[in-house]
């Protein structure tokens, strides 16, 4: 048992934050929010291509003659703004490398684009727009189906290069182009690259920060602007730094780390701020785990999250993109608004209790909470490794689940992994076989699913006021469908362990 177990029941003794420095940092807050520089420059492709070669010459980060140190986020935004220097609080027109939209916000963004740039307007760059239907796909809701049709029409009209279409809703496998959850698909299809700027009409766009890039969610109006102009006015956020050191115990996952952090700083603790994750633990994380970490920065209010790119990143990207990219890193003297330190070896499996992602508790503190179902899926907890983790718990226990357990792979690729990859130590069984033996529901068609409720006929939607342990990202009232439903956010380990007992359960009961 963990050494802190006996010392206190409080989930987070202050000792976990060994060193929280407040580096008096006030300058950024005085800048006005919307000091838009007056520029009559009609944004055109020409300007972009003329400016592009200068970027390498002006790059401030690697020359060694840096005047003022910058954080990674500041550097990425400076380079994308064709500036040598940017400070927190400054507003800057930032060139966008990738704009992503999906079936929920795409139609509205296109509507604004057409209204403002003209019915016959062309998007700024047909190769930099990625359109991923993923939210409401396997539904008979006519308006939801229509929205996917709108995406298809727009992509055809604009000759969009990356459109991951689905036409045959009866069998997703009949749609080779279809991917599924946008944030995971972006990574798997090689659209996430270090040093770049990625915007998306979805708050969990921040997931891509795992690749050492600036990625954040925007609304339809901003997306409409980017579609036509290829740039957007962004305010440079100050950075909070999270240093996570120590060996990760085998019962923890990145989900526990981010729940720990959100519990520490609250759901608004990083509002308007960037969150940078460093330390030996972070370095040891796989790309999918880093994505989990960055995925939920928005649940702390964060504008973006970043993990410095390293050999793990480069290896992941090897067979995914041929586009040249250039990572940047925080300078040693960079100014961080504050720094938090965690000894990960001392942490325990966590949950976020209803109805807020910062309502943190130890999983074992909630062992008397009876649950009605378990949900494993979404951009947060529906990746290949998330299912591998759940399978590991089922395998270790050899028992059957006691509550309905719903599995929604994020993407078609994840689905194939669930059915194809052998689970280590299982004698060659796949996740799907282990899930079947444990009595889980058959893995569903990949999409955002019930993470955000959706149309009434959405698979695994909470249509009754039940209690659910979920690997998703939000547990606000009504998030998964029913307003009186209760959602406990947890790691795939904890979710699987809870499925086996019918109560919120610490996975150490099965993993040790």
């Amino acid at each position: 048992m963990n050494s802190m177990a006996s010392s206190t029941i409080a989930p987070n003794p202050a000792s976990f934050i060994a060193n929280k420095k407040h580096l008096g940092f006030t300058a950024f807050s005085t800048s006005s929010q919307f000091s838009i520089p007056k520029c009559n420059r009609r944004i055109s492709k020409k300007v972009c291509s003329v400016m592009a070669p200068q970027q390498s010459e002006r790059r401030p980060s690697t020359t060694g003659s840096v005047k003022t140190a910058m954080t990674m986020t500041e550097k990425i935004l400076a380079r994308a703004s064709e500036k040598t220097q940017l400070s927190p609080g400054e507003n800057s027109w930032v060139n966008i490398d990738i704009l992503m939209t999906h079936d929920v916000c795409g139609p509205g963004s296109f509507g604004i684009f057409k209204k403002e740039f003209g019915q016959n307007a062309k998007v700024w760059d047909r190769e930099k727009i990625v359109i991923i239907p993923d939210h409401y796909i396997f539904t008979s809701d006519e308006r939801a189906n229509r929205n996917v049709d709108i995406l298809r029409d727009f992509c055809k009209e604009q000759n969009i290069k990356y459109f991951y279409d689905i036409k045959d809703l009866s069998d997703f496998k009949a749609n080779p182009d279809y991917k599924g959850v946008c944030h995971i698909a972006l990574a798997q299809e090689g659209h996430c690259r270090p040093g770049e700027v990625l915007l998306g009409t979805d708050s969990h766009t921040c997931t891509a920060g795992a690749f050492g890039q600036f990625a954040t969610g925007i609304g339809n109006t901003d997306a409409g602007f980017v579609l036509g102009a290829g740039k957007l006015l962004l305010k440079v956020p100050p950075t909070l730094r999270f240093v996570m050191d120590g060996e990760m115990p085998n019962y923890l996952l990145a989900k526990d780390l981010i729940l720990q952090i959100i519990g520490e700083i609250s759901v608004s603790g990083a509002t308007y701020k960037s969150m940078e994750f460093v330390g030996t633990t972070v370095e040891s994380l796989t790309m999918e785990e880093r994505m989990t970490l960055c995925n939920m920065v928005v649940e702390a209010g964060g504008k973006n999250g970043v993990v410095p790119a390293d050999s793990t990143t480069f290896k992941y990207l090897e067979d995914k993109t041929s586009v040249a990219y250039e990572p940047v890193y925080s300078d040693e003297q960079a100014r961080f608004l504050s720094e938090y330190r965690f000894d990960v070896s001392k942490l325990e499996p966590l949950v976020a209790k209803p109805h807020s992602p910062d309502n943190r508790a130890l999983a074992r503190e909630c062992k008397d909470v009876k649950i009605d179902r378990v949900y494993i899926g979404s951009c947060t907890g529906g990746k290949t490794e998330d299912f591998m983790a759940a399978a590991k718990v089922f395998l270790a226990s050899g028992k059957k689940v006691k509550v309905p357990t719903f599995l929604v792979p994020a993407t078609q690729k994840v689905w194939m992994d669930v059915y194809g990859l052998p689970v280590p130590g299982s004698g060659g069984k796949t996740c799907s076989q282990i899930f079947e033996e444990a009595g889980c529901d058959t893995p569903a068609s990949p999409n955002c699913g019930a993470c955000l409720g959706g149309p009434k006929d959405t698979y695994a939607r909470m249509n009754e006021p039940t209690v659910c342990v979920s690997t998703t990202n939000r547990n606000f009232p009504g998030r998964m469908g029913h307003k009186e439903g209760q959602i406990y956010l947890a790691s795939p380990y904890t979710a699987a362990a809870s499925a086996l007992t019918g109560y919120v359960t610490d996975p150490r009961e099965f993993l040790q």
């Binding site: 919307f34 838009i36 509205g108 708050s203 969610g217 608004s268 606000f476 009504g478 998030r479």
Partner: protein, 256 residues
């Protein structure tokens, strides 16, 4: 009401609006009025928020956009109406639940429909409904909340639903970033920040006046006054009707 606004408007630059134009429903009683401060000659009128029958939308069919001229003058505005009070961390699922996101805000009919679902995701502990059954509009033109209002999803449907329901301003202790940005970008609602926890001192149904220029909120029901944080440079963008309208008005992008 619409007529009087029209006559007050010497230079209606606000017609470049990001709001979809829809048929004004004149039968609806406006639940709030706004008072352009005439102590200073207004060069244009703020129209956005302030009437459920959308004078701006109706004007846009009459006055050509080309009349827009850049101006830097500030217009002083007041909002007056009933308030609806909510708590902390009102997330976008409570403002507009995900099942309604199939509605496309840039489609005028669906814009109206979105409004009818505003704040429908609030739990049953809110005993007073924000919008009465079978109504499209709310009688509360001002929403007062606690900290981190609008957290969660990036859905622009959230400020749009409030704006479409007839909300002129939200007053909260603090905002989630994307909601604030979307409010400004669309010009749908003024996201105003209070200095303290007004949400604990106001009750749903209180009569409120907001003096934007003075950054002041008056609760006529309790007789108390509160200081608001200045809206700053975001004010003119909302006033213009969103970032596109503002950018055109100030010459950043050409008028079409």
């Amino acid at each position: 009401m619409a007529a009087s606004l029209l006559s007050l408007s010497p230079n209606p630059t606000f017609t470049a609006s990001t709001k979809p134009s829809f048929s004004p429903s004149y039968h609806t009683t406006p639940h709030f009025v706004k008072f352009p401060n005439t102590s200073q000659t207004p060069t244009h009128l703020i129209v956005k928020p302030l009437s459920t029958h959308s004078p701006r939308a109706s004007l846009s069919s009459i006055i050509p956009r080309a009349t827009a001229t850049p101006t830097t003058s500030t217009t002083q505005t007041s909002f007056h109406g009933l308030c609806y009070v909510v708590g902390d961390n009102i997330d976008t699922d409570q403002i507009i639940p995900a099942e309604y996101l199939t509605l496309v805000p840039s489609n005028p009919e669906e814009y109206e429909k979105l409004g009818s679902y505003a704040l429908i995701g609030l739990p049953s502990s809110y005993t007073t409904r924000f919008i009465e059954p079978n109504e499209n509009k709310t009688k509360y033109s001002i929403v007062i909340g606690g900290y981190n209002f609008g957290c969660g999803s990036s859905r622009e449907h959230a400020p749009v639903a409030l704006g479409a329901a007839g909300v002129a301003a939200v007053v909260a202790e603090s905002y989630a970033r994307i909601f604030f940005r979307n409010s400004v970008a669309t010009g749908e609602v003024y996201p105003l920040e209070s200095e303290g926890r007004i949400c604990e001192e106001c009750r749903t149904g209180d009569t409120i006046t907001i003096e934007l220029a003075e950054s002041r909120l008056i609760n006529h029901t309790t007789g108390k006054e509160y200081k608001l944080k200045p809206i700053g440079d975001a004010g003119p963008v909302i006033e213009a009707g969103g970032i596109f309208a503002y950018a055109r008005k100030t010459g950043m992008i050409p008028t079409n």
